[in-house]
Symmetry: C2
Subunit: 201 residues, 2 copies
């Protein structure tokens, strides 16, 4: 979705995520974190972690700005990115990994099934908080569409299908989600992208 | 510690963290996240979230580089920052908040005491993983001292005093911690900075 919004096209290589190809060499020699996706540069340097990849691609392709077009905009985007990830999306994903997703994840990381319900509740707390702050705004960072919308959209879209739907009482988030879903980048790239981000294998 | 390394001096205002001054207006009107620290710009814009502040200060004061001096270095630093935070320091902090720190945090956020032991164990898994990767390197991002060292140092230093000491068998991390502790910035700014980051109130 980020690439589509940027108009960037990159050669790609698919790995068998469900088969755990990302959790063993040769992939882990390049990315010892073992997560997907990763970006390999021409000199062989490997950049993992989706947000680090976003920032790198933005530096190389500044327009349209999805982080920001000046230091103040970028700071505001990065502040929101952390609020959304630490308060909402990490809790959505871990809530999933430790319950509905546990059969996939139990051999890949230490899973905390005892934490699943609480993490899901924390994610809802975060969404409740965000819903109020979204009042009168089109996007998470006010009037600018940014990587934060992509992060939250992919997370909520993926997770809605695996047991954590949005609360329809969160009217601002519901309207925001419809707004993002109507973008061509969401239609064209949604399903593989969301699944990949959601799983991170 | 970041400011000291950069040689930046900023006017500052102290809030009564233990009294929850950061969790109510007028602070939350400026930073609805309610966490500390926050950086107020001259036009009144408020940037919260420590890492967003680091990135902003680096853009305005590029040298010495604590994120990186080119896009590739910055990408590598940001990748490591996420690995360290999501895999280690967030788990250290939340493990603390939900157990030793619960009296302070129970009225400020949803606490998950049932998750505390598991989160602490996940932090140790992350440190175990990092210890191997640190072999032969002076800093988390290879040969460069970066904001990632500051993030991990402040977290491990704070948390060692509240129930989660480093494992002495992690020899590379132990040596790394001594290396960072010997920096003038650690000696001069350690305790208030570490406590503030650790608490985030």
């Amino acid at each position: 979705m980020f690439l589509t919004e940027k108009g960037i096209s990159l050669p790609s290589e698919e790995l068998d995520l469900m088969g755990g190809e990302n959790r063993r060499p040769p992939y882990t020699d390049k990315n010892p974190g073992g997560q997907m996706p990763a970006l390999e540069l021409e000199d062989g340097t490997v950049i993992a972690e989706t947000v680090a990849i976003f920032e790198y691609l933005e530096e190389k392709n500044p327009s349209p700005a999805l982080v920001g077009s000046n230091a103040e905009e970028r700071a505001e985007t990065r502040m929101w990115q952390r609020r959304i990830e630490l308060g909402i999306t990490e809790n959505l994903y871990n809530g999933f990994r430790y319950s509905q997703g546990i059969e996939i994840f139990k051999d890949r990381m230490r899973c905390l099934p005892e934490a699943a319900d609480g993490l899901k509740a924390k994610a809802q707390d975060g969404l409740e908080w965000l819903d109020k702050l979204l009042e009168g705004h089109d996007f998470v960072v006010g009037d600018r569409f940014t990587m934060v919308d992509i992060i939250l959209f992919c997370a909520t879209d993926f997770i809605a299908g695996v047991g954590q739907p949005l609360n329809p009482e969160h009217k601002n988030i519901t309207a925001w989600k419809e707004r993002i879903a109507a973008r061509p980048s969401a239609t064209s790239s949604l399903h593989p992208g969301a699944a990949e981000v959601g799983m991170q294998g």
